[in-house]
Every structure is written in structure tokens, then in C-alpha cells.
């Protein structure tokens, strides 16, 4: 089993609903984004265009973050997900410098909310799960996947631009999409990390 994601760039409307759904599901603090949408512009008026690139942990086949982690806090699970053991992480941030996609975040505090009046009840409930002084990132919403659900971003995307599933299962939607789109791309293939997030 190898979990992976396929992202349809032609469908993505750059609304950032996935980013918000991720924050809601995982309760990340201010400034911490496990996934984001990069908006870029190209060309000049009247041929100007705007492009949206959803960016998240690529759960690489050969993850440089796991290779450099000095204490084996980052590892690849049997299902292909790259995970961080928050109880082991020493917060050296070597993985952040080694990640070619800049998708890891350092938890600097878990008691500062978005609003001046302190933490909301929801923030009080979820922020404590984020250990200060450690690094974290997208988990493909492992807690949801265990229950047979899609990651929150996939569930939420209004344009149906995100697809999640087992890349090894030929019957899965992601495997079929990759078969139908042989030109599917990964980010920074020259880094040699073999990402499991594909863009079509």
C-alpha cells in the first residue's frame, strides 16, 4: 500500500478552502500551514494569467527529511505516509532545511490564538496537541484515513481538484488518474525524493 495524492491544476481555483479545512481538522496555530496554495502570475495584460499551486508534504518515496533526521523522529510508515513522532523530535529543524518543498513548520508556541482576547474554546482544545519546539507537517489526515475517510482537504475542495488513495491499487481513483495522465508531474524531480503527490 502506498498512499498518494493527485492534484488537478486545471480544476484548482486557488480558493484556499483546502488550507482552511486543514487548519480546522488539525488545529494548527497562527502562522502554521501544513498546506497552502501558492498563487503566481504570468504574462502581461492582456495575456496575463494567474496560476494556483496547492502545496503540501509530498510524502516522498525517498524522503530527505527522514534521511537527515538525527533521531529517527521522521519515518515512512508501511502505508507510505511520512510521519513525525512528536515525542522524539528534538527540534533541530534539519528536516526543514532538507525538505525541497518548504512544507514543514516549527511550532513556536501553542498558547497564542488568532485574536487578542485569548484562545477560543476550540483553540484551547486543540493547540495543546502541538508540542512546542518540534517540527510538524501534513499527515494526509492519518486520523481520518484510519476511519476510511478522505483527508480534510480532499473532502472540502469545492472544485474536486484533489484525489487521494492507494497508488498501488490499480482500481483506485489516483492510480487510474495517473494511468490516464502519463505526463503527470511531481515537484522538483531533480531533488531525487520521488514525491507521491502528483500534478495533472
Amino acid at each position: 500500500m502506498r498512499y498518494g495524492m493527485v492534484i488537478s491544476l486545471s480544476r484548482c481555483i486557488g480558493c484556499n478552502a483546502c488550507s482552511i479545512a486543514c487548519k480546522h481538522e488539525n488545529g494548527t496555530g497562527p502562522g502554521v500551514f501544513w498546506r497552502k496554495v501558492i498563487i503566481t502570475e504570468s504574462g502581461k495584460y492582456p495575456q496575463a494569467a494567474m496560476h494556483a499551486l496547492p502545496l503540501l508534504c509530498n510524502h516522498c518515496e525517498d524522503p530527505s527529511c527522514a534521511k537527515v533526521c538525527p533521531v529517527k523522529a521522521t519515518k515512512m510508515d508501511a502505508n507510505g505516509m511520512v510521519t513525525i513522532d512528536a515525542k522524539k523530535c528534538i527540534g533541530c529543524r534539519y528536516c526543514m532545511t532538507a525538505c525541497p518543498y518548504n512544507v514543514r513548520a516549527y511550532v513556536r508556541s501553542n498558547d497564542k490564538g488568532y485574536f487578542d482576547e485569548g484562545l477560543t474554546e476550540y483553540e484551547k482544545a486543540v493547540y495543546g496537541e502541538h508540542k512546542v519546539g518540534t517540527v510538524e507537517k501534513c499527515t494526509f489526515c492519518a486520523q481520518r484515513v484510519e476511519e476510511g475517510k478522505n483527508p480534510a482537504c480532499v473532502q472540502t475542495c469545492p472544485a474536486k481538484a484533489l484525489f487521494f488513495g492507494d497508488l498501488d491499487d490499480p482500481a483506485s481513483q489516483v492510480a487510474k488518474l495517473l494511468t490516464d495522465n502519463p505526463n503527470a508531474k511531481t515537484l522538483k524531480p531533480e531533488a531525487g525524493t520521488k514525491p507521491k503527490v502528483f500534478y495533472i
Binding site: 534521511k67 518548504n102 513556536r108
Partner: protein, 374 residues
């Protein structure tokens, strides 16, 4: 009072001030660490993962390694003038390594979990290699220091492991597929910087004694600038956009004050001061201190430039927080404090040192005369 007696008194006053000033800096550094432990890493700059703490770590670990190599060079007759400085060099190396360890403790988000290096080491990580080489080198330095009989073979082995530290730390950056870092030259630059810092520390301690070390520094300082130019030329010749962005960042972007500060204050000015024939000991010491500061600036430039150009485009700014600056100065102060303390506690061989310095001074004109006769 004669002029020489007056100068001696001034030197003695300055010497007496070093220990309390360095101690105060070390206390400030520890205080910054305590603040961090209480408040959390939110007191640090939040834009760049590796900032001045890692730069100071690289500087101090490099200084320790450079000093071990100098001690070995003395024992092996490559730099005979350093033979009698063996003990001082080893104390300096141990002090630098301990201060480097302090910088790592400051940098870690979970310093208590450092025991994971022992219980769950990942041997593919260069951090583990670095940790092991540091550990082995510190142990060897202590053995070399406390052993009654000196062994040039043991010190030679220590110099090899010290060299390993410098190369591994260079590779930690060089193997990353990151603009500015991804260069095979980085470990070489780290090695030259380690020797520059070690030589500069010796000159700062005894500015007018070592003519041969002055020459080494005069040769190595421009070499660092040449390395920088080689990197920029190689990166920009084919017009790669990321490389161009890295160069722009250093030459005219947000890092320009630091880059040009390094060129002018860290390379050019010490180079001119060292070339100045009539320079007094004070000028040589100033040049040495500037060279050390220059290496620190160069390491900050390298670290930040590699992280300031993220995958998603744009540029990330960085300026260390007050706590980071205090912590970094604390680490540097700790190295000096431990060195002076160690030297006072364990003693040195001042007679031999003075004799060695005089021998070298006397030897230089004699050698020149021999060459002229030939």
C-alpha cells in the same frame, strides 16, 4: 615609568578585563537560554530555520578543529613555532567545542531530548556523524592534554577527526538541493575558515609573535573572497534564475550590508592591516579579531542566503531577535571564558612560549640573510 613598562601595564589591564567581560557575556548567553526555556522559541526570529545560533556553532566547532590542527602542525614540525603552544591550543580547542555544544543546546527546540542521539541515532543523518566526530575529538583532545607523555601520532589522529568535523559540517549544507548551499566548495570553504579562525585567535592572543602565522592569514583571507567569486561565477554563467536570485540577494538585496561588511571589514581591512609593514601588535590583533568576525558574518550570509529563497518563490527576510544575539554572544563569550579559565587553572609554559616566539623572530632575518647569500 619607561614606555615599555607602561605598555606592559596597559596589556596587563586589558588581559585582566578579558575574563570578567567574557564571563559576563557567558552569563548573558545562559540567561537568554533560560528565557527561551521559559517562554519557548517564540522569542526567536521565526522566518529562517537556521540562524545565528547555527552560524556561531559552525564558527566555534571550526575554531576548535582549526586549533587542534594547529597543535598537530606544531607537533609534526609543519609550524615549529607552535610546538610550545600545544597545551594552550588544546585548551582553546576544548573551550571552543564546549561553547559549540552550548550553541546547539540553545538552538534545539527540545534540548532535554538530546539523549535521543544515544538511544535512537539515525546513522544516515550527518548530524549524527557530526555529533560522533565531535564527541570523539573532544575525548581525544582531553587525552592529548592530560597524558603525561606527548604523542604526535595521537595528536595527528585528533587532527584527522577534527578535520572530519569541519568537512561534515560543510557537507550538511552542501548536500542539500538548495540554491547557494549546493556546492562541493562549501566543505573546502569551511576548512579554510577553520584555519583562518584558529590562526586569527593565535594572532589575537600574541599579535606580534608569529610572523609565519601572519603570512598564512595574508594568504588565506583573499582565498575566501576568491571562493565566493568562484561560486557566484559558476552559478550565474548559465543564467539560472535561482542562482541569480541568490547572488542578487547577497550583492544588492537584503543580505548586501552583511556581504559587503564581510568583504570590507572581514577580508580587505584585516588583509591591509596584516600587510602593513610598520603595523604594531595592536593592529595585528585588530586584524585578527576582524578576521574572526568576518568568518562569522560569512557563515551567517551563507546560512541565510540558502534559506531565504523558498520553493514557492519570493524572498524571506531575517534578522536575529535580541535573545538570539544575546545567546550567540554568550556562546562566543563562553569559549573565551573557558579558555582563559583553563589556561589560568592548568597553566602554560610561558618561558618556553617566549623563547619560541623570540626564536622565530630571530630566525626570520637569519633565514632572509641565508637566502640572500645563496
Amino acid at each position: 615609568m619607561t614606555n615599555s613598562a607602561s605598555n606592559e601595564a596597559k596589556r596587563s589591564t586589558a588581559g585582566n578585563l578579558i575574563l570578567p567581560v567574557a564571563g559576563l557575556l557567558a552569563v548573558i548567553g545562559v540567561a537568554c537560554w533560560v528565557v527561551q526555556l521559559i517562554v519557548g522559541p517564540s522569542v526567536l526570529a521565526d522566518t529562517i530555520p537556521w540562524g545565528v545560533y547555527i552560524a556561531a556553532f559552525f564558527l566555534l566547532a571550526g575554531a576548535g578543529s582549526g586549533l587542534v590542527m594547529m597543535a598537530a602542525a606544531g607537533d609534526w614540525g609543519i609550524l615549529p613555532a607552535l610546538k610550545d603552544w600545544r597545551r594552550s591550543l588544546l585548551i582553546g580547542a576544548a573551550a571552543s567545542y564546549i561553547a559549540a555544544g552550548f550553541m546547539i543546546l540553545l538552538d534545539l527546540g527540545q534540548p532535554v531530548r538530546i539523549y535521543n542521539f544515544f538511544v535512537s541515532p539515525n546513522f544516515t543523518s550527518m548530524f549524527v556523524w557530526d555529533f560522533l566526530f565531535l564527541l570523539v575529538t573532544v575525548v581525544l583532545v582531553l587525552i592529548c592534554f592530560f597524558r603525561k607523555e606527548t604523542s604526535k601520532w595521537l595528536l595527528g589522529l585528533t587532527a584527522v577527526t577534527a578535520l572530519g568535523i569541519v568537512l561534515i559540517e560543510g557537507w550538511i549544507l552542501a548536500v542539500n538541493p538548495v540554491t547557494v548551499w549546493n556546492s562541493a566548495l562549501i566543505p573546502v570553504v569551511f576548512l579554510v575558515e577553520a584555519i583562518v579562525v584558529a590562526v586569527a585567535v593565535l594572532l589575537a592572543a600574541k599579535g606580534d609573535a608569529f610572523e609565519s602565522l601572519k603570512k598564512i592569514l595574508i594568504g588565506l583571507l583573499p582565498l575566501l573572497l576568491i571562493f565566493s567569486l568562484i561560486e557566484m561565477f559558476a552559478g550565474n554563467y548559465m543564467g539560472a534564475s535561482q542562482e541569480a536570485a541568490g547572488t542578487k540577494l547577497l550583492l544588492t538585496g537584503s543580505l548586501a550590508p552583511f556581504y559587503w561588511g564581510w568583504v570590507v571589514l572581514g577580508v580587505a581591512l584585516p588583509f591591509v592591516l596584516l600587510l602593513w609593514k610598520g603595523a604594531r601588535a595592536g593592529a595585528v590583533k585588530l586584524a585578527a579579531v576582524l578576521a574572526v568576525c568576518g568568518v562569522l558574518l560569512a557563515k551567517i550570509n551563507l546560512l541565510v542566503a540558502g534559506q531565504a529563497l523558498p520553493f514557492e518563490g519570493g524572498t524571506i527576510g531575517y534578522f536575529p531577535s535580541i535573545v538570539e544575539i544575546g545567546g550567540m554572544l554568550g556562546g562566543l563569550g563562553l569559549a573565551v571564558f573557558l579558555f582563559v579559565l583553563g589556561k589560568n587553572f592548568f597553566g602554560d609554559a610561558p618561558a618556553a612560549v617566549e623563547a619560541s616566539a623570540e626564536t622565530e623572530e630571530a630566525k626570520a632575518p637569519a633565514e632572509a640573510e641565508t637566502e640572500a647569500e645563496a
